[in-house]
């Protein structure tokens, strides 16, 4: 019933006991997740504020994702630029966590976990590749 992305609540069967401190790898991954999430939300907040200031209705239909246009939109302080950047940050944060884990496991010499991390990144890369291919 839980574990669907919610922050801890009283009915969530979530850990309520602070246990031993995390090791370096877990601490680094945790920090990356927290910083990435807060940064993403902040960028989305800027985009939403600019959208409000521009008088654009969210239901008007936004431009589709285009990397070249994203740079142009950011340069001209258009809301779509900030919103797309925030969304990319949201989607990239978990992948960044896997990269951090990969580096940590390589340093520890845990080859099996390093291979698993590489395979996860390969699946993500496949998602990107297939989507671009299908759109083309």
């Amino acid at each position: 019933m839980n574990g669907d992305g919610a922050l801890p609540g009283p009915d969530a069967d979530v850990p309520s006991v602070v246990v031993l401190p995390a090791d370096d790898l877990e601490r680094n991954v945790a920090r990356l997740l927290t910083v990435g999430t807060y940064a993403s939300v902040a960028i989305l907040g800027v985009g939403t504020a600019v959208m409000l200031a521009s008088g654009i209705s969210p239901l008007a239909g936004a431009p589709r994702f285009d990397l070249q246009r994203l740079v142009d939109d950011l340069g001209h302080l258009r809301p779509a630029g900030f919103l797309w950047l925030g969304l990319i940050a949201v989607v990239a944060t978990p992948a960044g966590r896997v990269v951090a884990s990969l580096i940590g496991y390589l340093r520890r010499g845990e080859r099996l976990m390093a291979v698993i991390a590489v395979l996860i990144l390969a699946v993500i890369a496949l998602s990107v590749g297939l989507s671009i291919e299908l759109e083309a």
């Binding site: 669907d4 992305g5 999430t37 939300v41």
Partner: protein, 272 residues
């Protein structure tokens, strides 16, 4: 202006409810956007996936810091949830919206009935929190994936369940904890608290594998996703801080009623 505030407000409500009741916002975001704002189901699912990643990111960090989430187990299983999400994300663009609406209506009814029948969880024995060192004690895969005080079992079944969780997540825009937590807890013998925390950790990769497909194929509207994700994040944060002041039983009854109503509306939409 009103629509933006409506999206933020709806997101806050979804995040707050989700946080207080131990659900992600995803289960409410899709009905909110389709029934409340008239958006296509595929767009609503894409936006919901973004919201799910945002809310899981903050909580997963806390679980890792507290060393409750099992990073090794989570990464191993999320390889398979990601594969499922990749397949589900591709299939979502091929199947009729009506099919997904009916599937979602069934999901809402299932969650509502489960919550209505739910009793307060019995106190689970505390997980022993000794050194996380099975990898150095025993080199077998099982030992590596186990944690202090428990040993995982039936890994192949866990793999199958993870693929299924990924497909469901990608098709319906939810985190997939509804599948992952029971699989880890009941099938694999992981303590409920660890299963919940590890599921939260896995949601990021599960949802992002399919969110990428939605993003690159035009299934995410940034004008809708931005305010909604901010709202969900604020609501979930607020919920985690005010949870102790609220009578959950009343809230649960209200939530069940909302789920049944939205499930009925979704069913009508799918049949129309």
């Amino acid at each position: 202006m009103i629509v933006v505030l409506g999206l933020i407000g709806g997101g806050v409500a979804a995040g707050l409810f989700g946080s207080l009741l131990g659900l992600g916002g995803g289960i409410l975001i899709v009905p909110l956007l389709t029934l409340g704002f008239g958006l296509p189901l595929l767009t609503a699912v894409g936006v919901s996936l973004v919201c799910v990643i945002v809310t899981s990111g903050a909580s997963a960090g806390v679980y890792l810091e507290r060393r409750v989430a099992n990073l090794r187990l989570g990464m191993t299983l999320e390889l398979f949830t990601a594969i499922g999400a990749l397949v589900g994300g591709l299939v979502a663009f091929l199947v009729p919206a009506r099919f997904l609406e009916l599937l979602f209506a069934g999901l809402l009814a299932y969650v509502a009935l489960t919550m209505a029948r739910r009793r307060e969880p019995e106190k689970e024995p505390e997980v022993e929190t000794g050194d996380l060192g099975p990898a150095t004690i025993d080199d077998s895969t099982t030992a590596r994936l186990s944690g202090p005080g428990y040993r995982v079992r039936r890994i192949p079944l866990g793999v199958v369940g993870s693929v299924f969780a990924g497909v469901v997540s990608a098709l319906l825009g939810i985190g997939g904890g509804l599948v992952k937590v029971p699989v880890m807890h009941v099938v694999m013998g992981v303590p409920l608290r660890v299963a919940t925390a590890t599921s939260n950790l896995m949601i990021g990769i599960t949802a992002s594998a399919s969110a990428i497909i939605y993003l690159l194929r035009g299934g995410i509207d940034p004008y809708v996703a931005g305010p909604t994700a901010i709202g969900v994040f604020l609501g979930a944060t607020l919920g985690s801080r005010t949870a102790h002041r609220i009578d959950i039983r009343i809230l649960r009854g209200l939530f069940v009623a909302i789920l049944l109503y939205t499930g009925w509306q979704m069913l009508l939409r799918g049949l129309s």
